[in-house]
C-alpha cells in the first residue's frame, strides 16, 4: 500500500494484524513511541489525515492512501533520520517550558497538544486524559501549552539558572534516541513464557513443538542457563543483595517468573514458539500473605526461612519514654504495592561488536553494575562486555535491576546473533519489580507540651519471591524517618519476608515513603490530640544541627549537616498554605489542611562512586564523559552547568557522552538521588582540573603564571594576549567522587483538600511543597523534579495498586486498570526552596530526586483527617476504600461541611 508520511510517499506492505505504529517505526520514524501498546498512554500519537490518533490502535492497512504526520514531520516534510529543528510553535513551547523530563512521552504529548483547538485547551484534564507522563507532574506541560516559559538564558553564572536540557531540541522533535530507537534489521527477537503458578516446579519442558515453529532459532530453558545465582538488584557492593536468582530456574516462585525463552526471526514467531512450549508443572503450595510468612507451617520460598532481612535496634529506653509520656498513640499503617510505570519498559538489545565483544544497549540506571554482574554470571573479563544506554525513558529505581540483560546476553552467546527483548507493558506490570508493600506499627509517646519522648516502629516488608533490595530498603526505610527527630528514645524492629509474589525492588524513596506515611500520620494524630499545631510539633521535635543524626543505633556513620533548611521549609510551607485558600469548594464538601515532612540522606551509604573526564577538543569545544545515565533526572543538564561554570563557557560549547562502560572507568549508577551530588561532583572536579590544565598550558605558552590567565568562552585571556582554545587542545582531565561524606535534604508538603462525605472523593484545593536542596543548580529542573515527585506520590496515595488475584498473579496489567495520574488528576503544586548552601555537595547542592515523593501520602491523609475526622491508615485513599470511614466520621460531626455562610 502507499501512504504519505511526513510529506513523502511511502510504500509499505503491512502484515495482517499489524498496527500503524509498527509500520512507522520500521520505516525509521522512531519518534513514534511504544509506551503501552494499548491506546492508553498516547506516546504513539500521530496525525492521520490531520486527526490525532493513537497509532498503536490503528490497523495498519487503514493507512492506505492517507497522510500521516509524525513528530518528526510536525515542523515540515522530512525523511527518516534527518536532523530537525523544533520550529513548530508547540515544539518551541515545549522547549521554552521544558515540558518534559525523560522525554519518552513527549512526541505524543506534542502531537496531541498541536491538535487541540481553543475549546479543548480550556479543559486540559479531559483533552490530555489519553497522554500519560510519569516524570513531570504535568506542571511544565500545562505551562508549555499555555505558552509560559520556564527556561532562562545563562547570564554570567550558569549555575543557579534555569538553562535548558541539552537534549531539548532532540526530545521535542522525536529525534532523541531511546533504547529501542535503532534499526532492527538482522536482529532476533526474544520472548519468554511466564509462570502461570505462584509456586511450582518445572517437571519437564517439551521444546520440540516450539523449535518446529518456522522462524524459531533457539529455545532456552533452565538447562541452558548458567548455574550461578545472582541478584537482579544492583549495588556498588554486590553482597548487599542475596544471590538467589537464576537466569532460568526450574523452581518458579511467583506467577510471572520466566519459564523459558524463545528466540526467533520475528516477534510473531517468538510468541508462537512460546505458545507451542509444552510445560509440565508440579504445582506447589504458595505463600501469598506476608503476615503468615514466618509461621512454622508457611510454605518456604527459599531454603529454611522466609526471613529475607531484619533490622533491630534501640537507642535510649523506649519503655521509659513511654512511661513518662502524657499521651501514647499506637496505630498500624499499610502501604501497598505500586509500580514505577516509567513509560519506556525494560528491555535491551545485545550483539557482538566487530571485535567480538558482547555489547548491550539497555534501558538501565546502572550500566557499570550490570556489566559487572554479567561478567560474574558468564565468567567474562570486563574488557569483553560493554554496556551502554541510549536516552532512558524513566526509571524511578525500577532500572536499578538487571531484569533483561542476563537473558539477552545468554541468547547472544548461544546464537551468536543480535537479539532484542523489549518487555510488553503487560509484562512490565506482571513480572517486574514494585515498591515493597509494608505494614508499619508506630508507637509515639509525647508530653503535653508536644515533646516526643518515644518513637517505635515495627515494620513488616514484603519483598516477594526474591531478595533484591530487601535489606537495603528495610534498613533505609527505618533510618531517616527516625533520624529526622531528636527524640532520645527510639526503637525499630523490622523484618522483610519472602512470599510467592512478584519481587519488590528499588523504588523512589527506597522504603521511606512507606515508613514516613506511617510516622507522619501518627505524629499528626498526636499533635491533634495534644492541641498542638502540626507545624509546631515538627519545630519542637525535628533534629537540628549540633544534634546527633541517630535513627536506632549509635554506630558511626558519615552523614553530617552539610546544611540545614528544614526550619525554612516548615515556615515556607505554612505561610504558603495560609496565604492560598485555593478554589472554593462546592457545597457539602468538607475542607481541611494537612502537612508532613521528610528527611533524606543525600547519598546512599556504603560507597557511591563516579568518575568523569573533561576534555578540550581540537575544535575548541568541550567534551564530558561520565558513566551515569540520563533518564529524566536532568543529570546531563546539571553536569553541563557544572562544566560550563568551571570552564567559563557557554553551556552549548559542552557536549556530553554518558552511560557507557567505555566512557569512564567506573560509575556506581544513577540511583539514590546521586546525579547531582556524586556524578555531578566528579564532573565538577574534572572540569575544574581541566580549567587548571588549560590555564597552565596557556601560561606555559606565554610565559606568565597560570593565575594570570583567565578562561573565557572560547578563549583564554592572558597578559600577553588572547589565545583561542583550539590552540591549546587537546587536553583532558579527570575527576572522581566517592559519595562520602553525605548530607541531609528536607521536604515539607502541605495540602488543603475537599472531601465529599458521601462518595469519598478527594479534591486537592491547594498543594504546597517546600524543599531544601541546598544551592539549586537549575531551579526549573529542580522544580520539575518536585512537581513530578508529588504527582507520582499522589498516584500512590490516591489511585494506584498492583492488585494480585487470588492466585498471586498481577491483575492490573494495563494503564486502563492501573491508573497513574493523568493531567486532570494532578493539581498545580507551588514549589518553594529553602536558601541553604551545602558544605558537602558540589557548589553547595543537595539531592532532590526521590525525596519529594516521601511526605505526600501522609500530608494528604492528614488533610483528609482534618477535613472529615477520619484517620486513614492505608493507601490508596480511593473513594471506594474510604467512603465508609469518611461518612462515619462526618456523621459523628467532628467537622462540619462547607455551608453557604462559610463560602
Amino acid at each position: 500500500m502507499r501512504l504519505t508520511v511526513n510529506g513523502h510517499a511511502h510504500d509499505a506492505d503491512p502484515r495482517p494484524g499489524q498496527c500503524l505504529r509498527t509500520v512507522l517505526r520500521e520505516a525509521g520514524w522512531f519518534g513514534v513511541k511504544k509506551g503501552c501498546d494499548a491506546g492508553d498512554c498516547g506516546a504513539c500519537t500521530v496525525h492521520l489525515d490531520g486527526e490525532p490518533v493513537h497509532s498503536c490502535l490503528v490497523p495498519a492497512f487503514r493507512a492506505e492512501g492517507t497522510e500521516v504526520t509524525t513528530i518528526e514531520g510536525l515542523s515540515g516534510p522530512c525523511r527518516p533520520g534527518e536532523a530537525r529543528e523544533p520550529t513548530h510553535p508547540v515544539q518551541a513551547a515545549f522547549v521554552a517550558a521544558q515540558g518534559f523530563q525523560c522525554g519518552f512521552c513527549t512526541p505524543g504529548m506534542v502531537m496531541t497538544a498541536a491538535a487541540l483547538d481553543q475549546g479543548r485547551r480550556q479543559d486540559l484534564g479531559d483533552a490530555l486524559k489519553g497522554n500519560l507522563c510519569r516524570c513531570t507532574g504535568y506542571g511544565a506541560i500545562r505551562d508549555a501549552i499555555a505558552g509560559i516559559a520556564r527556561v532562562e538564558a545563562p547570564e554570567g553564572a550558569c549555575v543557579g539558572r534555569s538553562v535548558p536540557a541539552p537534549a531539548a531540541p532532540l526530545v521535542v522533535t522525536g529525534t532523541a534516541r531511546f533504547t529501542f530507537d535503532i534499526p532492527e534489521a538482522g536482529m532476533l527477537h526474544l520472548k519468554v513464557l511466564r509462570s502461570p503458578h505462584a509456586h511450582a516446579r518445572i517437571v519437564a519442558i517439551d521444546t520440540g513443538p516450539a523449535r518446529a515453529v518456522p522462524g524459531v532459532v533457539a529455545v532456552l530453558t533452565h538447562e541452558d542457563a548458567p548455574p550461578r545465582r545472582f541478584s537482579t538488584g544492583r549495588h556498588e557492593d554486590p553482597r548487599d543483595d542475596a544471590a538467589d536468582t537464576l537466569v532460568l530456574d526450574p523452581v518458579l516462585r511467583f506467577a510471572g517468573q520466566r519459564v523459558a525463552a524463545v528466540v526467533a526471526e520475528t516477534e510473531a514467531a517468538a510468541e508462537a514458539g512460546c505458545r507451542a512450549l509444552r510445560v509440565t508443572y508440579e504445582v506447589l503450595p504458595a505463600l501469598l500473605d506476608p503476615a503468615r510468612a514466618l509461621d512454622p507451617d508457611a510454605p518456604r520460598v527459599h531454603g529454611e526461612t522466609n526471613l529475607a532481612a531484619e533490622v533491630r535496634g534501640e537507642v535510649g529506653d523506649v519503655a521509659a519514654g513511654i512511661a513518662e509520656a502524657d499521651l501514647v498513640y499506637e496505630e498500624t499503617f499499610t502501604s501497598q504495592r505500586v509500580q514505577h510505570a516509567h513509560l519506556e519498559t525494560h528491555g535491551c538489545a545485545g550483539w557482538r561488536d566487530a571485535d567480538g565483544r558482547l555489547t548491550l544497549r539497555t534501558s538501565t540506571q546502572v550500566p557499570f553494575l550490570t556489566r559487572d554482574a554479567l561478567c560474574a554470571l558468564y565468567d567474562l573479563p570486563r574488557e569483553e562486555i560493554r554496556v551502554l544506554c541510549g536516552r532512558v525513558g524513566g526509571g524511578f529505581g525500577g532500572k536499578q535491576e538487571m531484569l533483561t540483560e542476563d537473558l539477552v546476553a545468554l541468547a547472544v552467546l548461544k546464537t551468536g546473533r543480535p537479539v532484542k527483548w523489549e518487555l510488553t507493558r503487560q509484562e512490565q506490570f506482571a513480572a517486574t519489580t514494585t515498591r515493597h508493600p509494608m505494614r508499619v506499627r508506630v508507637t509515639v509517646g509525647a508530653k503535653r507540651d508536644g515533646r516526643i519522648t518515644a518513637l517505635g516502629l515495627d515494620v513488616l516488608s514484603d519483598t516477594g519471591a526474591y531478595g533484591n533490595h530487601a535489606g537495603g530498603v528495610l534498613h533505609h526505610g527505618c533510618n531517616e524517618v527516625l533520624a529526622a527527630y531528636s527524640c532520645p528514645n527510639k526503637r525499630v524492629a523490622g523484618r522483610a519476608v519472602h512470599t510467592h509474589t512478584p519481587p519488590a525492588g528499588a523504588f523512589r524513596g527506597y522504603g521511606l515513603s512507606q515508613t514516613i506515611f506511617a510516622l507522619e500520620s501518627a505524629l499528626d494524630e498526636v499533635a491533634r490530640r495534644l492541641g498542638v499545631d502540626p507545624f509546631a510539633l515538627r519545630r519542637i521535635n525535628a533534629v537540628r544541627p549540633g544534634e546527633p543524626l541517630v535513627a536506632h543505633s549509635l554506630h558511626p556513620h558519615d552523614v553530617v549537616f552539610g546544611s540545614y533548611g528544614l526550619d525554612q521549609c516548615l515556615d515556607l510551607a505554612q505561610a504558603a498554605l495560609a496565604e492560598d485558600p485555593g478554589p472554593a469548594p462546592e457545597l457539602g464538601w468538607h475542607v481541611g489542611t494537612g502537612m508532613a515532612m521528610a528527611m533524606l540522606d543525600t547519598i546512599p551509604p556504603r560507597g557511591h562512586h563516579a568518575e568523569a573526564f573533561a576534555a578540550l577538543l581540537p575544535d575548541g569545544t568541550y567534551r564530558l564523559r561520565t558513566g551515569t545515565a540520563e533518564f529524566g533526572n536532568g543529570s546531563q543538564t546539571v553536569h553541563r552547568q557544572f562544566a560550563a561554570q568551571a570552564l567559563q563557557a557557554d553551556p552549548a560549547r559542552v557536549r556530553i557522552e554518558a552511560a557507557d562502560t567505555d566512557a569512564v572507568g567506573h560509575d556506581t549508577g544513577a540511583y539514590g538521588s546521586t546525579g547531582t551530588v556524586v556524578a555531578g561532583q566528579a564532573v565538577h572536579r574534572a572540569a575544574l582540573a581541566l580549567a587548571e590544565a588549560i590555564r597552565a598550558r596557556a601560561a606555559e605558552r606565554t610565559g606568565v603564571t597560570p593565575e594570570a590567565c583567565r578562561l573565557a568562552d572560547g578563549t583564554v585571556e592572558t597578559p600577553k594576549g588572547v589565545i583561542p582554545l583550539n590552540d591549546l587542545a587537546p587536553l583532558e582531565a579527570s575527576g572522581r567522587s566517592n559519595g562520602s561524606p553525605r548530607s541531609v535534604a528536607f521536604n515539607v508538603q502541605a495540602f488543603r483538600v475537599a472531601v465529599h462525605p458521601v462518595s469519598g472523593a478527594v479534591r486537592i484545593l491547594t498543594s504546597v511543597h517546600a524543599a531544601d536542596a541546598g544551592v539549586v543548580i537549575n531551579p526549573m529542573q529542580c522544580r520539575g523534579q518536585v512537581e513530578g515527585g508529588v504527582a507520582q506520590a499522589l498516584g500512590a496515595a490516591l489511585y494506584e495498586e498492583v492488585a494480585l488475584d487470588g492466585e498471586g498473579a498481577v491483575a492490573t496489567r494495563t494503564f486502563r486498570n492501573y491508573h497513574i495520574p493523568a493531567c486532570g488528576d494532578v493539581p498545580d503544586t507551588r514549589v518553594l526552596f529553602a536558601e541553604t548552601d551545602d558544605a558537602v555537595g558540589p557548589l553547595g547542592a543537595k539531592s532532590m530526586s526521590e525525596s519529594p515523593f516521601n511526605p505526600v501520602a501522609a500530608a494528604l491523609g492528614n488533610a483528609i483527617r482534618d477535613a472529615t475526622g477520619a484517620r486513614l491508615t492505608a493507601t490508596p485513599f480511593a473513594p471506594d476504600r474510604i467512603f465508609r470511614a469518611v461518612a462515619a466520621a462526618c456523621d459523628l460531626g467532628e467537622r462540619h461541611p462547607v455551608s453557604d455562610q462559610a463560602r
Binding site: R15, P16, G17, Q18, C19, T22, D37, A38, G39, D40, G42, T45, L48, P52, V53, H54, C56, L57, V58, P59, F61, R62, T112, A115, R120, G125, D126, A127, L128, K129, G130, N131, E267, A268, E271, A272, R275, T424, Q426, V758, S759, G760, L798, Y799, A803, A811, T814, R816, N817, H819, P821, A822, G824, D825, A878, P879, D880, R881, F883, R884
Partner: protein, 274 residues
C-alpha cells in the same frame, strides 16, 4: 498493538461478500479495543468500516446510528431542538475512558458489542430505548433492546457471524428530560457508576443503571415513584451481592453510589421548577 496471530484481513464491500464465519474470526470496527489487548485466539479480522454505512440518519421518528458510527461523529451531532435529551450524547461520549483521539476510531457498535459494564454508549442507548438491528449470516434480521444485547461483562447476545448493523433511538425517547450522574475513582477514570434518569411529558419516569452493575438495567415507571419506592426497586433489581466488582470500584461503594445517584436523579427530575 501488533496482533501477530492474524493471518488475513478482509475488507467487506457489501453484505453479499460476507465470508462464512469460522472460529478465530472477529468483526473489526474501530479496532480501538481489538488492537489494545493480545488476541491470541484470532486468525481473521473482517472489517466492517469498508461497508460505507452512513454514520447516522436523523428522521422524524428518531435517530439511527450505524454500528460503525464513531464516537467522534456521534459527539459532533447536531440534533433537532425538540430532542431535549441531546446533552446526554455529549455526557456519555465524555464518559468514555479513551481520549478524544480514541473517539476518532471507537465506534457505537464496538462499545455495545464489547459489553463492558462501563460502556457509556450502552448507557446512552439503554436510557434512550435504543433498538438494535442485527444481521444474521443467513440474511435474516432481528431487533433486540440494548439490555437484551448486552448480557454480561464482555458478553453479548450476538450469534456467531451475526452483525450489529445499527441502533435506533426513537424520537419519543429523545424528547424526554434527562438527568445524568457518573462517578469514577479518578476524575476522568472508568465509570464506577453511571446513571441516567428520563422523564417524559406524559410523566413516565425511567432510571437506567450502568457501570455499577454487570449489565445495563432500566427501571421504568408510569409516573415518578416515591424516593423509597425507587430505591426499593433498585435494590430488588440488583441484589446486594450482584454489584459489579473490578479494580474500578468495589461493589459496596458502587451500590452506595447507585442508590445515592438514584435519589438525586429523581429529585432533579421531579423538583418543582419555579
Amino acid at each position: 498493538m501488533d496482533l501477530h496471530t492474524i493471518e488475513t484481513t478482509i475488507r467487506l464491500r457489501s453484505r453479499s461478500e460476507m465470508p462464512d464465519w469460522r472460529e478465530g474470526d472477529a468483526w473489526l470496527a474501530g479496532g480501538t479495543w481489538l488492537y489494545s489487548e493480545p488476541q491470541p485466539a484470532l486468525r481473521r479480522l473482517i472489517d466492517l468500516t469498508s461497508l460505507g454505512w452512513p454514520a447516522h440518519e436523523t428522521g422524524s421518528d428518531g435517530l439511527t446510528l450505524a454500528a460503525t458510527c464513531t464516537v467522534a461523529a456521534l459527539e459532533r451531532l447536531d440534533l433537532p431542538a425538540a430532542w431535549i435529551a441531546a446533552p446526554l450524547v455529549r455526557q456519555c461520549c465524555r464518559s468514555l475512558l479513551g481520549s478524544f483521539k480514541v473517539w476518532n476510531g471507537a465506534t457505537v457498535g464496538g462499545n455495545l458489542c464489547l459489553a463492558l459494564p462501563a460502556g457509556p454508549i450502552i448507557a446512552l442507548t439503554t436510557a434512550l430505548e435504543g433498538s438494535c438491528l442485527l444481521w444474521a449470516p443467513d440474511g435474516s434480521e432481528r431487533r433486540l433492546t440494548v439490555p437484551e444485547v448486552v448480557i454480561g461483562p464482555q458478553r453479548n447476545a450476538l450469534a456467531p457471524g451475526e452483525i450489529l448493523r445499527s441502533v435506533t433511538l426513537p424520537a419519543s425517547a429523545l424528547s424526554r428530560r434527562t438527568a445524568f450522574r457518573r462517578i469514577s475513582l479518578s476524575p476522568h477514570g472508568r465509570s464506577g457508576a453511571l446513571l441516567i434518569g428520563t422523564l417524559g411529558a406524559d410523566g413516565a419516569f425511567a432510571l437506567t443503571v450502568t457501570a455499577s452493575v454487570p449489565r445495563p438495567l432500566r427501571l421504568a415507571f408510569p409516573r415518578p415513584p416515591e424516593r423509597d419506592d425507587l430505591l426499593h426497586a433498585v435494590e430488588a433489581a440488583v441484589p446486594e451481592g450482584l454489584y459489579y466488582d473490578d479494580v474500578h470500584g468495589r461493589p459496596d461503594w458502587r451500590r452506595h453510589m447507585t442508590l445515592h445517584f438514584a435519589g438525586e436523579i429523581l429529585a432533579e427530575l421531579t423538583e418543582v421548577r419555579a
